[in-house]
C-alpha cells in the first residue's frame, strides 16, 4: 500500500497468486491462535467449528456476517481509495462518526419530511460529514502543512468527542432518564432492511462503492492519472497532473464513503445516535484494506473473514468459557502476520 507498485492492484503481477498468499497468511494466523488455544487447554478444532458453524451454518448467522461486512467494506474503501496515491488515511473511525453525526442532525431536524426526501438528505449529509472531515486532512497534506497519517489519526479522537458533545448536550433525549443518547429516529429516517434480518440498504452503498472504486481505477482517465501519481509523483506533476487537487478530492471521497458507514449504522442498526456506535469499524477497515492491498475482491474476502471472527468470537465465550479478549488475540495475530508479509517483501526487494 505504501510501496509503489506497477499495477493498479499489487496482487496482480506477483509470481505467487494473491489469493493463495492471502489464504496462507490467514491460515498461519489461525494456526498460531490454535496453539494459543491448546496452551490454555481448549480444543482449537472445536472452537473453530463453533465459530464457523455459528456464523456460516445458518441463514441468521450469514445475515449477521453481511451486517458486519457493510461498515467494514465501506471503511476499507475509505482507506484503499486515497492509498492509490500513497495517502494513508487512518481516520476511518472519525469519518464514520462525523458521517453519523451529520446524518443524525438531518434525521432529528427534518423529521417532518417524507421518507423520499429525508432519506436522500440523510445520505448526502452522511457522505458530506465524513468527506469534509477527511478533506481537512487532505488540505493540510496538499499544502504540505501536516502529514495526513498523523492528522487523520488524531482527528479520530476529536470526532468521537464531538459526537459525545452532541449526545451529552444539545441532542440528549429528555425521555431517556438523562441517559446520553438522542431521540429515536422517525420511521422515515430508518434505512429499510431485508425482511426479518438486519441486512440493510447500506449493503447497496457498499456494493456500489466497490464497483465504482474498481471501474474508476481501472477504466477512467482519473484512474490512469492516479496510477501515474502513485508510480512517480514528480513525473506526474511535471506532466501537469494536479496532485494537490487529487489529494483533496480522494480524501473527500474516501471520507465520504466512511461517512456512509456511520450514516447506515445510526439509521439502520441503532435508530439513534449514542456514544459507542462503532466498535472500531474504522480501524478494522484499515486492517482490511491493508490485508488486501486495495484489491476489491480481496477487500470483500477480508471483510468476510473479519466479520466471521468478530461475530463468531461470541461463541468462544458462550461455548468455551474463553474470556472476551480471546477474539482480539486472533485479530491482532492476523494484523501481525499481514504486517510481517509487507515487511518481508520490502526487505526482499
Amino acid at each position: 500500500m505504501i510501496e509503489r507498485t506497477s499495477g493498479v492492484f499489487r496482487l496482480r503481477n506477483r509470481r505467487l497468486p494473491g489469493m493463495v498468499r492471502w489464504f496462507g497468511l490467514v491460515g498461519l494466523a489461525f494456526l498460531i491462535f490454535a496453539i494459543v488455544l491448546i496452551i490454555i487447554g481448549k480444543n482449537p478444532i472445536r472452537a473453530y467449528i463453533n465459530i464457523f458453524s455459528s456464523t456460516l451454518g445458518s441463514a441468521y448467522g450469514l445475515s449477521e456476517i453481511v451486517v458486519k461486512m457493510i461498515p467494514l467494506i465501506l471503511t476499507a474503501i475509505a482507506v484503499a481509495l486515497p492509498s492509490r496515491i500513497w495517502l494513508i488515511n487512518v481516520g476511518g473511525e472519525g469519518q464514520l462518526h462525523i458521517g453519523a453525526l451529520f446524518a443524525t442532525g438531518g434525521a432529528l431536524h427534518f423529521s417532518y419530511l417524507p421518507a423520499w426526501i429525508l432519506m436522500p438528505l440523510i445520505f448526502v449529509l452522511g457522505f458530506l460529514g465524513g468527506g469534509l472531515w477527511a478533506m481537512i486532512s487532505g488540505i493540510l497534506r496538499a499544502r504540505g502543512w501536516a502529514s495526513e497519517t498523523i492528522s487523520t489519526l488524531l482527528m479520530n479522537y476529536v470526532a468521537i468527542l464531538l459526537v459525545n458533545f452532541f449526545v451529552f448536550g444539545p441532542w440528549k433525549d429528555p425521555e431517556s432518564a438523562n441517559y446520553p443518547q438522542t431521540a429515536e429516529f422517525v420511521g422515515a429516517a430508518i434505512l429499510p432492511a431485508l425482511g426479518g434480518t438486519r441486512v440493510h440498504f447500506g449493503l447497496v452503498f457498499a456494493i456500489v462503492s466497490l464497483i465504482i472504486y474498481y471501474l474508476l481505477l481501472s477504466y477512467t482517465r482519473w484512474g490512469l492519472e492516479m496510477r501515474a501519481i502513485g508510480n512517480n509523483s514528480e513525473a506526474a506533476q511535471r506532466n501537469g497532473i494536479p496532485i494537490a487537487r487529487y489529494i483533496i478530492l480522494l480524501m473527500f471521497i474516501g471520507g465520504g464513503i466512511a461517512g456512509l458507514a456511520g450514516m447506515s449504522e445510526v439509521s439502520a442498526i441503532q435508530g439513534r445516535l449514542r456514544p459507542g456506535i462503532s466498535p472500531g469499524y474504522g480501524f478494522t477497515g484499515f486492517l482490511i484494506s491493508w490485508m488486501s492491498g486495495g484489491n476489491p475482491l480481496g477487500m470483500v474476502a477480508s471483510a468476510f473473514l473479519l466479520a466471521i471472527i468478530i461475530s463468531g468470537g461470541d461463541i468462544l465465550q458462550m461455548a468455551h468459557g474463553l474470556p472476551g479478549s480471546a477474539v482480539h488475540i486472533l485479530m491482532s495475530l492476523i494484523l501481525f502476520v499481514v504486517l510481517g508479509r509487507s515487511g518481508g517483501r520490502r526487505s526482499a526487494k
Binding site: 496482487l11 496482480r12 441468521y60 459525545n164 432518564a177 441503532q270
Partner: protein
Amino acid sequence: MGKKNFKMGMGFLALLSALMFMLVTTTSARASSEPKLKVGILHIGSIADAGYNQAHAEGAQIMKKNLPGVEVIGVENVPEGADAERVMENMIKQGAKLIIPASFGYLDPALRVSKKYPDIKFVHPGGYKRAPNLGTYWASTPEAFYLMGIAAGKTTKTNKMGYVVALPISFFLANINAFQIGARSVNPSVETRVVFTGTFLDPGKEATAANALLDQGVDVLGVIVDSPITVVQTAEKRNAYSVGYHYLGVQKFAPKGWISGIAFTWGELYTRFAKQVMDGTWKSENLLGNLSSDYLTIAPFGPAVSADAAKLVNAKKQEFISGKSQVFQGPIKDNKGVERLKAGEVWPMENLGKMDFLIEGVIGQAR
C-alpha cells in the same frame, strides 16, 4: 484480476466450504444432556472488574448454584451497539429461555429482540421501558447513599468529601444529592465535590479525578463508575477514606480507609427469575427494590467508622424501610441557590429520572 488467480481462489473456496460442511455435520450429530433452563447474560465490560459487571456475573453464578440443572451462558465485553442484538440472538439459538442484558444501553436492542421472540423472557436492569416479555429490575439507591453520607460525614476530618462519577445522568445526580443530604444531617459544615469522567470505565481518568479531589483537601472518596477499584485504591494509597459501590468485594482493595459501600447482590433475585421462568409464573413487571430487598446490600463497616456512626446508620436504615423517613424532603435548594422543593414537599421516587440538579453543598455541574 488474473483469471488464473480467480480459478485457484475459487478452488480454495470450494475446498474450504466442503471442509466446513463436513465439520458442521459432525458437530450436529453430537448429543448432550439438555439442562432444565439456559440463562444468557450479557456484560458490558469485564466480569472481573470488582464492580458492576462482576456483581451481575456472580449473581448468575449463585443462581446456577441454587438451581441444579440451570446453565449460564455469559458473554463479556459486548458493546452496546450492533453486537448486543446478535449476542442475544445467538444465546437464544443456543437454547437460552431467559436473557439478562445487564447494561442500561442494552435496553433498545433487547426490546427489538424481545419483539422477535415472544416466548423468550428478558429482564433488564434499570430499564425505563417494558414489553410483555421484557421486565425491568433495579433497586432504589438514594436511601443507601444517604446512609453512606451519614457514615462518611461522621468520619471526615476535613469536612470535604469527593465523588468520582461516570455521567451526570439523573439517577447518579440523585445518589450524590442523597449522599450530601445524609452527610449534612450529621455534619452541617460538610461539602461534596463531584468530578464526572464522562465514561463508565476509564481507570486513567478516574485516577486523575481521584487525585485532583484529594489535592483539594478531600479525605473521603466515593465512586459511581463500573469498576470502583481505581478510586478506592487511590484513596487508600493516599490515606483517605473510601466508600465502595456495586460489588461487595471492594473492601479488600482499601481495607484501611474503608468506610462502607453499597453493593448489588443479585444472586437470590436471579434465582427467583429463573424459577419463575421454569414454572411459568414469570410476568413482566417493573421491580424496584429498596434497603429491605435481598439484592441491595450495605457492606460491612471499616475500622474508621465509629460505633456511634454505625448506630446512626442502622437506625436511619430502619426508618427508610418503615417509610418513616424520605431522602428528598423539602426544603431543598440546588447549588445555584434555586429552591427545588418547598418545605414539606417530597420528591417522588418514581420521578428520579427527572432530577437534573445538584443540591446545595455539592460542588459540581449537573450537566
